[in-house]
Subunit: 222 residues, 4 copies
Amino acid sequence: MDADTLHAKAGPKSAGKRERTKVQNRQIILAAAHQVFAELGYGATTVRDIIRATPLASGTFYNYFKSKEEVFQAIQDESALRIRPRLHEERAKATTIDEFISGTFQIFFDYVASDQGNFQAIRRNTDTLRVRMDTPEVIAGFEELRVDLERAIAQGMFPPIDADYLMAAIVGVAFEMAERMLRRDRPDTEEAARFATALFMNGVRNLPHVQGVGPKAAKDNV
Amino acid sequence: MDADTLHAKAGPKSAGKRERTKVQNRQIILAAAHQVFAELGYGATTVRDIIRATPLASGTFYNYFKSKEEVFQAIQDESALRIRPRLHEERAKATTIDEFISGTFQIFFDYVASDQGNFQAIRRNTDTLRVRMDTPEVIAGFEELRVDLERAIAQGMFPPIDADYLMAAIVGVAFEMAERMLRRDRPDTEEAARFATALFMNGVRNLPHVQGVGPKAAKDNV
Amino acid sequence: MDADTLHAKAGPKSAGKRERTKVQNRQIILAAAHQVFAELGYGATTVRDIIRATPLASGTFYNYFKSKEEVFQAIQDESALRIRPRLHEERAKATTIDEFISGTFQIFFDYVASDQGNFQAIRRNTDTLRVRMDTPEVIAGFEELRVDLERAIAQGMFPPIDADYLMAAIVGVAFEMAERMLRRDRPDTEEAARFATALFMNGVRNLPHVQGVGPKAAKDNV
Amino acid sequence: MDADTLHAKAGPKSAGKRERTKVQNRQIILAAAHQVFAELGYGATTVRDIIRATPLASGTFYNYFKSKEEVFQAIQDESALRIRPRLHEERAKATTIDEFISGTFQIFFDYVASDQGNFQAIRRNTDTLRVRMDTPEVIAGFEELRVDLERAIAQGMFPPIDADYLMAAIVGVAFEMAERMLRRDRPDTEEAARFATALFMNGVRNLPHVQGVGPKAAKDNV
DNA sequence: GATGAATGAGAATTCATTCAT
DNA sequence: TATGAATGAATTCTCATTCAT
């Protein structure tokens, strides 16, 4: 008999053991799925693999998700849900293009670096190079960026350019660079943000110079 | 023992028959795999799927390839052989960053827009549109880019920048913009290439201007 | 602890509440099972199906019944209680074979034609129409017939004929004709009962004559 | 190396070992399904049960049938296919109602008795009282009976009665009585045919009399 | 009593691969 | 070499039932 049982009437905040176990199990499954996706790649992992990485019974999985695709989408959604407010807030504060762009990349790379498991589960795949499912939350995140861009254009911060393509370019660079960044020995989010920002601000010819043609770590992991 | 086999023994003239059949079967399998990868994506396709898309018997598959991984590799090799000339020709002509970048995007967007079989747009659930990019051909194309990029830096055409990140940026923009482009009513590969090239050459502030805040087509297809 | 439970403890007046809920739940389960058996057929329905058709929790089911077999039995028992009066009334009035036979068919065809919920017509594949007869009520109905028939023979209303075969013949005709009847445009239970009764009373040569070789409706629905 | 291999070119009749094994396996599965349906009833048997009653691997089942329903239908079809010509031939020879009716029942009951496994598999069910799937062949058999009846009516052998209902009545009596007959200690097909014929010729009051109210065997098996 | 999540046995089905023909 | 049926491990998913709350 634990504390909760003793104080079952303490208030609405004590959700009850049942409720807590449910939330816990969902997290257990999501964490296990992370792990397995990151190890085997999305295409190669089976529901069994996920269950095996869990102390739960096979049937329990299906109390929470209908398929591995659904777990995957849940992971994506949670991710998008966590980062979206931060990105939006940062962009809202921006008064110049530079702030808008650099803020977006910095927040994104920081998030990715702090939540490696999540991002790697989504992006790193041994067999297929890219699997990205557009869950409602992810799409919403893209849309939010586009709306923010259109607002910035309307306000005159940006010139009247193709917001749809610019959104795509930002998203593409963010995701693809994030993946590369995580493969490096010591991911440096500021370096990545600086690179991306410089590219968007001044183009290829004004990117920061480096020693040699590229980082060693990258070569090993093509 | 079928007619072909019987003929093969009829005389020295048809001695090449067997050889030709072997080559043909290999091509049949590769073509089928090509098709199926494009439809289902590499991760989701099974050897059975490939065999089913073939007039051949299941056992025959194993006379040519050990697994779908091996077919994948073969397609990559063959497609690299086919794509390389186009890429090489274009990039070999490039003497400036501008030509290099614009050539790359133009080729890629043209390729995506024209090669229907490879880049089937598939709708998932209700509102999500994804484009299959995990196809041997595409991956080979990116590897090409990577190699060329490193060469260009080594030759001094590009400043000594982070080639790994630059490749990622190009790939990300290419991918993501391609998807957006395909959603538009009448995909305009030159417009897309112009946009991407301008971004990489001069940054956000010098992108081509448009009427209104964004193209109409994009709005319809969110 | 919900409102009902709280009320139950409010005072002596609602002391019967719990009892009433128990009876209600039993009825809820029986009604749901009734429905589901009619839809899926007895063989194909699972306990889960029954629970799903209920607002109750799965565990609750087992407070009332041990298995679907037990629910089946309970429905049979209850329906026998409900049907018996009608059957009894009709057959009790019968003093002749004719009345017995015609009463039986008339009741059965009326029952089938009227009780929509129980006798769902199901289409299999493309062209096959079947009528659900594997429902507790129907089975109970046939058992009734069997008992009554044996009683009638024992009472001397029928000659000492093979009751087992006669029961089989009546059941077979009832089943098969009922299905045919339901396929017709406007099922006419009296016509069907007249036909069956005439057959059993006087044989094929004295069946009611019709225009043409067969009813139009029947032809349309083969 | 068996005879077939040695004489592989003997002619089209020697189907080759592969072909023979295929036919054999199909028969093995059908026979096992018979057996299991008869033992457990259609509703309760699983594909696994059928496979278990077979020396074959689980996957092999699916080379032949997609589900237990399909096996069931195959059994029915084979059955119907075997008996239909005999029934038709007999009815074609008939010049009187009596011959038509008695021929039909006699052939049917003989067939059922000689092929008990088959019929029981189809009809005897512990859980649901009746499962009969109308496969194309079975439907064709019913239709054939109806056509024969309509022809007989047109020829004046039968009076102008409802052929559809009469067909249903004959089918119902045949199936239901057959089931009862098989449950008896020593199935007597002539007795059954006599009973059914007498019923259809002269009605209930002229059925053959028996000692007691019914056979002992029947009582045990209700 | 009511609840409904957990359980894990077991059912349906697919898979890659082999091998006799 | 081509064939394609056989294999049985592996996978997805459902089920009846239990039991802590």
